[in-house]
């Protein structure tokens, strides 16, 4: 079913919207959650929570890219759950990425920036990147994909990918500092 028709089902408060969403994007949402949590049962729960969030969000929101819309919700839910697991010393594949970003925290000592400014800063940073840079950056830090997977998909060696990601993290840090955005 086309995305627009699925969104219409949400607007009509037709519960089959969730069934159609699951058929089309269930595996996608679960893969995002699994990449972060490394646990099938928890990824499944995140996926189901995503549908609930989507149900409550539409209406009023009418997403133009339903897939990305759902993916962002899933990621947020999974990241929240990961943080709770981490507090219980339960490490997953995402732990490597969690530690990887330590070198990219902006050296700005002011009060933490508000969400709108942070959102704008992230978007302007992403728009400044080359297409390939943006792809590998988001595959790593949005989708939490392993280096081997990203390097294979983008035709790069793991070494080259590590160097590129290091440069991008450094550039993101610089971007936040220039805008005086603290975390």
């Amino acid at each position: 079913m086309e995305d627009a028709k699925i969104v219409d089902l949400y607007f009509e408060r037709d519960e089959s919207a969730i069934v159609r969403t699951d058929e089309k994007y269930g595996a996608y949402c679960q893969s995002i959650a699994y990449a972060i949590l490394s646990a099938e049962d928890e990824a499944e729960e995140c996926k189901n929570d995503t549908y609930l969030r989507a149900w409550n969000a539409m209406p009023p929101e009418r997403p133009s890219l339903l897939k990305a819309f759902l993916g962002k919700i899933t990621r947020h839910l999974a990241l929240d759950r990961y943080e709770r697991n981490r507090a219980k010393k339960r490490d997953t594949a995402a732990t490597v990425i969690w530690d990887e970003v330590c070198d990219s925290i902006p050296d700005v000592t002011s009060e933490p920036a508000d969400g709108l400014a942070l959102k704008e800063a992230v978007n302007t940073f992403l728009s400044s990147l080359k297409a390939r840079e943006r792809i590998v950056f988001l595959q790593r830090y949005f989708y939490f994909l392993p280096l081997a997977t990203i390097s294979r998909r983008n035709g790069m060696t793991e070494g080259a990918l590590k160097v590129l990601l290091y440069r991008l993290r450094r550039k993101f840090k610089q971007h936040l500092e220039e805008k005086e955005i603290a975390l």
Binding site: R53, N56, A57, P59, P60, E61, R62, P63, S64, L65, A68, F69, K72, I73, R75, H76, L77, L79, D80, E83, I97, W98, D99, V101, C102, S104, I105, D107, V108, T109, S110, P112, D114, G115, L116, L118, K119, E120, V122, N123, A131, R132, I135, L138, Y141, F142, N154, G155, M156, T157, A160, L164, R167, K171, Q174, E177, E178, K179, E180, L183
Partner: protein, 632 residues
């Protein structure tokens, strides 16, 4: 904890809303509120106060700032006040709380309002090797040269090389880490660029850095005496506020293009917290209100600041600021064009369609002072400064049009930060437009609407007199368009049709040929392709491709030598050819585009540079240098 914030930011999330997503939090508030209400019901006085609280109308106006009416910045204060004010969607607190409770029972997270709505003998004579966008307007770069020496910025070193073919060598270097004022700060080395004076005696380096003591981005303008390459010294150093965008070399100094951000603690009684500070050496003062241009509705509270700066005299000669404008600035021979993109919303009931629009302001800069001439608007957004061009009093602009459609309900808040954070990503490219404006009165005199296939966006643009060349793409396929602009009222164009890959840069190489540099069949391939106009369309003459490599998309890193038909580009190969890091040199003989050399130099692709002198090609990278003879 900051790792979590960093990762959440990538998903565009608001940290406080993530914390509020804990299901236990709203439930606790509900119980507490009901409990308080029951207790309050027992006390008439408290009940009266509660009623006042619940049913008194919520103030629907921005805070009163009339006490600042005497301030010369009153106009800006009013705009900022309006920008930061978010009207409540509720009539009173009762309605607000009722909606929150409804959302709790519906399982969604309650939010706090709709806050996301929105020549000397020693030095030699100067040789230009930077491919400036506008003839006569010199741009800074990491490489400059005289007829004797090549100067290259390698990290925080200025390296000087002799031009002597195979006997060339590095003869001197200057270490900027020895500049005391920069020692303890983050130096944004990748953004550093320099100029070589016409007499080749002075190198002026623009060195952006972040001062953690002043908690702001700054630029060190460092003038080095290079008269004797063996005895280079800093003869002038000035430190200016702001985040560096770019600069140009003028006959009477430098043109600085900067972004200024307001202070974290906004205080309308103190202009220094919300107006750019201009000056040096502790003599900074807020820019005059009359030199600030701002739109009716702000889309951000940052300024694009244009300044004429005399590095030798350590002083600004004039400045002008544009509030809510972007960092894309085009400088023609006579004018500066600043830009801001915003969304134009039209509604049919609750269904809103937002289209991207761009305002372009025109500033004359050749006199003693800047002179603001006015602005014009176009549909769509401008990719970069190469999408604009001034020729014979006419401004030509190419835009990508995009739009977003959504439902809007008065009185209902967006469900959560995850949803609202998607807004900025939801503009979908629809096509591309080309506009011509007569600059004298900024009247539109020609246009081509929706010339690109549906859903494509502009990837690269170049203009040459009465011709325009545009590459659009949808993922990894592109048409390249050739426009004839000689008659603005009857613009004609041809295109290649859909071909593999797309050009992220277009280079005019003379004799009617156009070189496209970009991606081939995948995002891990480099494709350089020569195009030419035919009677029926635009045809590919020849192309050169490397698979499994990464390459620089930064235009200034390319070496463009039209006279000798040589082109250089920094690449890193990941295949099995054993070449890895290097600078690729191509030659076009009118029929065939072929590789003539691959010089092994190291470092990031976009920081590598090269140049050709008298049969030899010189390449520069991170702590590396190579020279090969390529022509007899």
């Amino acid at each position: 904890m900051k790792n979590k914030k960093w990762l959440s930011a990538i998903g565009d999330a608001d940290e406080k809303y993530v914390a509020e997503s804990d299901p236990a939090a709203p439930a606790r508030r509900k119980v507490s509120w009901q409990k308080n209400t029951v207790i309050a019901a027992g006390f008439l006085l408290i009940l009266t106060l509660l009623n006042v609280y619940l049913f008194a109308p919520i103030r629907q106006k921005a805070p009163d700032v009339s006490r600042y009416a005497d301030s010369e910045y009153y106009g800006i204060i009013q705009k900022m006040n309006a920008y930061y004010y978010k009207p409540s969607p509720y009539k009173n607190n009762f309605e607000r709380l009722w909606m929150k409770l409804g959302n709790m029972f519906g399982g969604a997270k309650a939010e706090d309002g709709m806050n996301n709505a929105s020549g000397s003998d020693l030095s030699g004579s100067y040789e230009e090797i930077t491919d400036n966008q506008t003839a006569g307007v010199t741009e800074g770069d990491r490489i400059k040269r005289s007829d004797r020496y090549i100067y290259y910025l390698d990290g925080e070193m200025l390296c000087v090389y002799t031009i002597a073919g195979e006997d060339s060598e590095q003869i001197a270097r200057f270490d900027f880490s020895t500049v005391r004022e920069l020692t303890n700060f983050s130096r944004y080395l990748e953004k550093w660029e320099m100029y070589l004076s016409a007499d080749c005696k002075t190198v002026t380096v623009m060195a952006p850095y972040y001062s953690s003591t002043e908690r702001e981005a700054k630029v060190a303008v460092l003038s080095l005496d290079v008269t004797d390459p063996y005895a280079i010294y800093v003869k002038n150093k000035t430190f200016v506020d702001g985040s560096y965008i770019s600069s140009r070399l003028l006959s009477d100094g430098e043109l600085l293009l900067m972004t200024h951000y307001q202070a974290n603690e906004l205080n309308y009684s103190d202009a220094s917290t919300f107006v750019p500070q201009i000056g040096t050496g502790g003599q900074e003062a807020p820019l005059l209100a009359e030199d600030i241009v701002y739109p009716d509705i702000l889309t951000g509270t940052y300024y694009t600041v244009l300044s004429k700066f005399d590095a030798a005299a350590h002083e600004y000669t004039d400045s002008m600021a544009f509030l809510s404008y972007s960092a894309e600035v085009y400088v023609s021979a006579e004018h500066i064009f600043t830009m801001r993109t915003y969304s134009d919303k039209t509604g049919d009931g609750n269904r809103i369609t937002a289209k991207s629009m761009t305002d372009i302001s025109v500033i004359a800069y050749r006199g003693d002072d800047f002179s603001y001439l006015g602005s014009l608007s176009v549909n769509g957004s401008v990719k970069d400064r190469y999408s604009l061009d001034e020729y014979e009093g006419v401004l030509r602009v190419v835009t990508t049009t995009s739009e977003r459609t959504y439902e809007e309900r008065a009185g209902e808040e967006l469900v959560d930060d995850v949803v609202s954070s998607l807004i900025s990503f939801d503009f979908i490219p629809t096509s591309a437009n080309l506009y011509l404006f007569r600059l004298s009165d900024r009247t539109k005199i020609g246009e081509v609407i929706a010339f690109a296939p549906p859903g494509e966006s502009v990837q690269s643009v170049r203009f040459d007199k009465n011709a325009a060349y545009v590459c659009t793409s949808l993922v990894l396929s592109d048409p390249v368009f050739f426009f004839d602009l000689s008659d603005p009222s009857a613009i004609t164009y041809k295109d290649t049709g859909t071909i593999d890959g797309y050009s992220s840069s277009l280079v005019l190489i003379g004799n009617g040929f156009l070189l496209g540099i970009g991606y081939g069949s995948s995002f891990s391939s480099l494709k350089c392709e020569i195009y030419k106009e035919s009677e029926t369309g635009v045809v590919s003459v020849d192309k050169y491709e490397i698979d499994n490599c990464t390459f620089s998309e930064y235009y200034k890193s390319y070496y463009i030598d039209r006279e000798n038909a040589l082109f250089g580009i920094g690449v890193i190969e990941h295949g099995n050819r054993g070449r890895s890091d290097g600078y690729l040199v191509l030659h076009f003989d009118g029929y065939e585009l072929r590789e003539v050399d691959f010089l092994k130099v190291f470092g990031a692709e976009h920081l590598k540079r090269g140049c050709y002198v008298d049969g030899y090609f010189y390449a520069f990278g991170e702590n590396s240098f190579a020279v090969h003879k390529i022509f007899d």
